[in-house]
Amino acid sequence: MCIDCNCGVPTHAHTHAHTHLELGQDLLSRNDTQAAANRSRFKAAGVPVINLLSSPGSGKTALLERMARDWGASHRIAAVVGDLATDNDARRLQNAGLRAIQITTGQACHLEAGMVQKALATLESDGIDLAALDLLVIENVGNLVCPSAYDLGESLRVVMLSVTEGEDKPLKYPATFHAADVVVISKIDLSAAVGFERSQALRHIAQVAPRARVVEVSAKSGAGMGELLAVLGLPILSPL
């Protein structure tokens, strides 16, 4: 066997050269380029864009429904929703009064910048002007693993965990939490029922998400929505 490679050709009978290439190429450079294009579009339109990440069931769609209810009269909000196969979330959001575009990812377990670009084209063909929006929220696929590697061009990355998921959750997904600008603790109406150890959770979040601001909300009761508005840096607007 060739000792330089595992080509199986005896060394003395080599008829091919072995080339070693030092590359150091970013694997996701194509996504990053696309994300940069999205980002400059959002910037030109002056619209803040949130990339919302959590496990399935943490309450991403419920939070969007609550945003529509509490902020919809004063803020023009649109949503892009990535989900496996079904279009239930988009319908829930449309029923809540949001302009919502579904990205059906098929087998994919995360959104990529190119998918968001296509969704923007759909938004536009539906007559929704990015520049006329006060907020665009991208509900990522429910998954705390690979979505974290894909920049979508967002201005804020928001990672959410509900009180029912346990105080250790951030320590189990440090890569995702580390990239968070904001961590939302959701379903705080259930804190007492599940014996949520708040200070422990906050400590774990600080350890793995050192740059993040933390906000605690209940989509059910509406608690914390004012703080969320402030943490997201959104202006308080009078009804449209």
Partner: protein
């Protein structure tokens, strides 16, 4: 992961490779990619290409953060950015988010030493 295959095949094409023998990736512990999942998908993703049968080598990069108080770099084990000496939380990650095609080993048709 398709990105690995696409980048590797692009390079292999440019260098007129007959075969890719080794693909070396560099993956930070906070890159958001599970090396085991990559290893698992690798053979399937490479099947039927010049990279079929290639060896996959993964260089792990341990996350490190810088403590402003102690003016030192420390390993952020399990992503915990808490200085082991003073307990301060660092916001300054110096490495650990790498996700790179580090190098490729190719078998090329023309062997300059023998032709």
């Amino acid at each position: 992961m398709e990105a690995v295959r696409d980048l590797a095949l692009e390079q292999a094409g440019e260098h007129h490779a007959r075969r890719i023998s080794t693909i070396t990736l560099r993956i930070g512990s906070l890159a958001g990619v599970e090396p085991d999942a990559l290893r698992f998908a690798f053979d399937v993703v490479m099947a039927g290409t010049l990279g079929e049968g290639a060896a996959l080598v993964i260089e792990d990069v341990q996350a490190h953060a810088f403590c402003d108080v102690c003016q030192q770099t420390f390993p952020a084990h399990d992503g915990v950015c808490e200085c082991p000496d003073c307990g301060a939380i660092s916001r300054d990650l110096v490495q650990g988010r790498e996700l790179q095609l580090a190098s490729l080993d190719l078998d090329c048709d023309d062997d300059p030493l023998q032709s």
